[in-house]
């Protein structure tokens, strides 16, 4: 865990006997870490751990396996996924090349999110609503368990329902470098753009279900909609906190209005709090 950090920082952060959720490293400021405790979350500020810009750059270099060129696209998108599946968001100065973001330089901060895997966290939803596989959109605010939930749901589609399930894993957060068990009937396409991977997957491996994290753009939504119309079951997730708000997002509105999803679930801290059907009626 956190192998890309200097050993002093890694040792200090990981020796706390709590489950690490997030680490925030800001240039010339103390490192903060958030842990899951029985009574909620615990934030620890490490006053003796201060990273310079060079320290952050070195961490990013190690994170890229000493090969910035291999993570160029990830850096442009503002995050890099470590071999252990930690998602590292990076901030700095964006360099534009006229066509878009060329790269990020002068790194100023890193936000490290530690992946979770909670087996059977979707079990109660499945037993209550899913007699047969259905199209599901999982919605929550950031860090409330979307990725964990859809991974578990996808695993259930693969193992319980026996569907050939394709995990479209743009940021390697679902399979975590192949470390996570995703089901015996599962295939994974990693690091591809969602829209490309979905179309590629449908053409090449004939999936019966597709799991896709975080629909962010119109092209993501179009690809998901295309897959659903091809008869593939969809499990997807999106950022949001209420039905009212997600309907304001163009890409989500379009996909919901074309009746792609049988169920729209809202999560709060890994728990399903609301479920809507395809007519947007709360169940």
């Amino acid at each position: 865990m956190l192998n890309f950090l200097p050993s002093k920082a890694r040792n200090e952060i990981t020796r706390v006997p709590l489950k690490l959720n997030e680490v925030r490293i800001r240039r010339n400021l103390p490192v903060t870490a958030i842990y899951a405790a029985d009574y909620g979350i615990r934030k620890i500020v490490y006053n003796d751990l201060v990273f310079s810009e060079k320290d952050i750059e070195d961490c990013i270099f190690r994170l890229c396996d000493y090969s910035i060129f291999g993570a160029e696209e990830s850096i442009k998108n503002g995050f890099i996924t470590s071999e252990e599946g930690e998602r590292v968001g990076i901030c700095g100065s964006i360099v534009n090349d006229g066509t878009g973001i060329a790269t990020i330089k002068d790194f100023s901060s890193m936000v490290i999110r530690i992946p979770n895997d909670i087996e059977n966290c979707s079990e109660s939803f499945i037993s209550q609503y899913l007699k047969v596989p259905a199209d599901c959109l999982v919605v929550s605010k950031p860090y409330h368990g979307k990725t964990t939930f859809i991974r578990d749901l996808g695993r259930a589609y693969s193992d319980k329902f026996g569907l050939n399930t394709l995990f479209v894993d743009e940021r390697d957060e679902l399979s975590i470098g192949g470390h996570e068990y995703l089901g015996k009937n599962s295939d994974v396409i990693r690091f591809g753009k969602k829209a490309d991977s979905i179309r590629y997957g449908i053409r090449s491996i004939n999936p019966q279900a597709i799991v896709c994290d975080e629909i962010m753009t119109v092209s993501d939504a179009d690809a998901v909609s295309f897959a659903a119309k091809c008869g593939v079951k969809i499990i997807a997730s999106a950022h949001g906190d209420s039905m009212e708000n997600i309907l304001k997002r163009q890409e989500i509105n379009a996909i919901i209005k074309c009746f792609t999803f049988d169920y729209i679930l809202f999560l709060n801290e890994f728990e399903v709090t609301e479920v809507y059907n395809r007519n947007l009626v709360k169940l």
């Binding site: 270099f61 190690r62 890229c64 396996d65 090969s67 060129f69 160029e72």
Partner: protein
Amino acid sequence: MTVVILGILITALTTWIGKKISDKYIYQEKFLNALNTFNGELIRNLAFRHDSIAKIRNKDFHFSDFNDFVSRVDFDGVIASGCPKYLDKDQRDAVISYFSGLGRNSLSAEKNFLEEYKVVFDDAVEKLRARNVKIKPLGIKIGFAIGIIIFILLL
């Protein structure tokens, strides 16, 4: 009889010392040749696979000294201490400069970086090869000659 045996031993010793002196230059050539092979591997990698340098450095570059060195290189800066002693200062500086910049570029910049060093390493290996054609037998010959002279003087 003792003098003859001693003379033979001294000749063998000086020949061996002569060989060792020329070996330094042979090792330089082998090291830089392996470095050039490593660089070529990275250029080919960038054309298609885009594997990380950390993965590529585990391959065999046909010279154990270089294999050891490249597997131990700490890209964070501790390169100098790992450089073999038989490298000259210029060669050592080139190796340090190469590994300090390696992997820190975008794809297109990395290609340019590697191509520039390919020219440098090709040239260095060629010069060493030409020099070693002369030096390799010369070291042994001089060592042997010194041994023979000592032998004659002993007689």
